[in-house]
């Protein structure tokens, strides 16, 4: 069984081809370059490296977000187009869970973080149980202060994962003290092979046409519109 994995949810890019539970090739990078310039060339290069034709893959796994709206959409668009035209099953995986599996065997909570600007983050809370990483809270969009409040109430060691963690390192240390742990740099980037691993372990096949990113945040214009609707209803 041959899998293609694609992660463009945030600044890092990762694409991988895994065959029968082994990585054939993986391309990882983390540069401030538009994914539209890099994602398809990286996929093209990957197929050339492993000497496979696109139609020879059996399944596709993609990072469904949360993350950069445009970034997630590029990966999701590529993945759903490939899955549809090649008639292969498509699996969407949380961009945060992909980071969490970078830190197995940690005895405590695993908290992957992606910056969402203005002291907000996308984050999840995971735990390593029975050889796999399990979400113990739903991924979401949080003010960093609220997230740290929730975590400090748990009174357990927390391992923070993700390249954006560095932006909040000071406040995390201040709030969680000795319970704060930070993954070393080789574990900070999402890896498409991990994405495939998660999809194989616990993935649900998506409806390809209907598949969309998990934004974890309503668009600003839509939020304003809904608020306006509620106000109008209340004043009726």
């Amino acid at each position: 069984m041959i899998w293609l994995g694609i992660d463009t949810a945030n600044m890092p890019l990762s694409v991988a081809i895994v065959k029968d539970g082994a990585i054939l090739a993986e391309v990882n990078s983390s540069m401030a370059v538009n994914h539209s310039l890099r994602a398809m060339p990286a996929i093209e290069e990957l197929f050339a490296t492993v000497k496979l034709q696109p139609k020879e893959i059996d399944a596709i796994a993609v990072s469904e977000g949360p993350g950069s709206y445009t970034g997630v959409r590029i990966g999701v668009t590529i993945a759903k187009t490939l899955a549809w035209t090649l008639k292969k099953p498509l699996y969407g995986v949380s961009s945060l869970k992909v980071l969490a599996v970078n830190a197995p065997y940690f005895n405590g909570l695993i908290c992957p973080i992606v910056d969402a600007r203005r002291n907000n983050v996308y984050a999840g809370v995971y735990e390593f149980v029975n050889g796999g990483v399990t979400a113990i809270a739903e991924d979401g969009h949080f003010a960093i202060d609220d997230l740290l409040n929730t975590l400090s109430e748990k009174k357990r060691p927390v391992l923070f994962v993700g390249k954006d963690v560095a932006m909040y390192e000071e406040v995390i240390k201040e709030r969680l003290q000795d319970d704060a742990h930070f993954a070393p740099f080789p574990l900070q980037l999402p890896r498409a092979s991990s994405l495939i691993f998660i999809a194989q372990q616990s993935g649900q096949e998506e409806n390809t046409h209907a598949f969309t990113p998990e934004y974890r945040r309503i668009a600003e214009a839509e939020a304003n519109w809904l608020m306006q609707q509620r106000k109008e209803k209340a004043s009726e």
């Binding site: 538009n34 539209s36 310039l37 890099r38 994602a39 398809m40 060339p41 996929i43 093209e44 696109p54 139609k55 709206y69 445009t70 959409r73 590029i74 999701v76 668009t77 590529i78 993945a79 759903k80 187009t81 490939l82 549809w84 035209t85 090649l86 390809t208 046409h209 209907a210 969309t212 990113p213 934004y215 668009a219 600003e220 214009a221 839509e222 519109w225």
Partner: protein
């Protein structure tokens, strides 16, 4: 006998998700458009983030339908043409990345098309283009006069210095309290009105083919403001008629003058505002009088669609133009000749 050329076109530059298959550059085999207008109406205009979200929902469905209606498989195609720019960057990226993934999966070449070249080539779907040709492009984002000496050669001879014509329509419609998109509402009101408010015409310098619509928009706002201060009430139909007359007269006169100066064989109009009935009949009458052939595509080919992208893409394909997997969205892309 030469082989037929089938090109898949994809367009997502604004709020329409569209795909189409064109045979030999001029025959529409399928033309699918999924409009977001119902969703975007809530906001009184196109919200880029919402547009991008809808494109992701629709893109594979629209391409699948274009192939199904054409009764063709990917291997029957010769290339994929996609709008590279200008437009909303997040929206463009959906079409571009779907096009790249589709082209890669099926071993097809990819061609990046300029949105305005597409609007011009919409005419190729109706009748063969004859050169020199003058194109008046009028839409929500563009007001341009383009001279073409041959296929793939574009010379900009005039453009708006401020608002695009369609933008002015939308803004004036908002002032008059008309729903989005405003153009068709103003057009309808103007055609029904027996009276018109006298608004200024922006002719600019005598030898200029440039346009300006922001002064006209301000004149409409001032007129309404002054009238309301005096306790009067604006008649939207009279304002719509006056505004439309000013826009149509300037567009018609400048296009006519340019057509005569450059001695063109054909004049075409393209873009969303080319669907405007007042503008179409004015241009029709002016060019009939001069004896210069004037064409405007049916309304479905004036508004954004992928058939026009595939039509322009076919002309580029025939000229050997090819894009790469590095294609990016180009929101401010200039209309450049691909054939010198």
């Amino acid at each position: 006998m030469t082989k037929d050329i089938y090109i898949l076109g994809i367009e997502t530059s604004c709020d329409e998700t569209a795909a189409s298959v064109i045979k030999n550059g001029h025959e529409i085999v399928s033309n699918i458009v999924a409009s977001q207008i119902k969703s975007q109406q809530r906001f009184g205009g196109v919200v880029p983030e919402i547009a991008s979200r809808h494109h992701v929902e629709q893109i594979t469905l629209v391409i699948e339908e274009a192939l199904a209606v054409a009764n063709l498989a990917p291997e029957d195609l010769d290339a994929v043409a996609v709008t590279e720019g200008p437009g909303l960057v997040g929206a463009l990226l959906i079409g571009i990345n779907a096009a790249k993934a589709f082209a890669f999966a099926n071993g097809l070449p990819i061609i990046g098309v300029h949105h305005i070249a597409g609007h011009i080539y919409a005419n190729q779907l109706m009748q063969p283009m004859e050169f020199p040709l003058l194109a008046l492009i009028v839409s929500g984002g563009h007001t341009e006069l383009v001279l073409m000496e041959k296929h793939g050669s574009f010379k900009l001879i005039g453009e708006t210095r401020d608002d695009a014509a369609g933008e002015a329509y939308d803004k004036v419609a908002r002032v008059l309290g008309l729903p989005y998109p405003g153009g068709p509402h103003i057009d309808k009101l103007a055609l029904e009105s027996d009276e018109a408010v006298d608004f200024p015409r922006a002719w600019l310098e005598p030898d200029s083919y440039d346009f300006s619509f922001s002064g006209l928009k301000s004149a409409v706002i001032n007129y309404k403001h002054n009238l309301e201060q005096k306790g009067g009430e604006v008649n939207p139909a009279h304002v719509a008629a006056g505004f439309q007359q000013s826009v149509v007269e300037v567009l018609t006169e400048k296009t006519l003058k340019a057509a005569k100066e450059y001695n063109v064989k054909q004049v075409i109009a393209a873009g969303g505002v080319a669907a405007n009935k007042g503008l179409r009949s004015s241009l029709d009458a002016a060019f009939e009088k001069e004896g210069i052939p004037f064409y405007v595509p049916p309304i479905s080919l004036c508004t954004d669609n992928a058939a026009m992208i595939a039509a322009a893409g076919t002309a580029m394909y025939v000229d050997g133009k090819r894009g790469t997997m590095e294609m990016n969205g180009r929101p401010g892309m200039e209309l450049a000749s691909w054939s010198e």
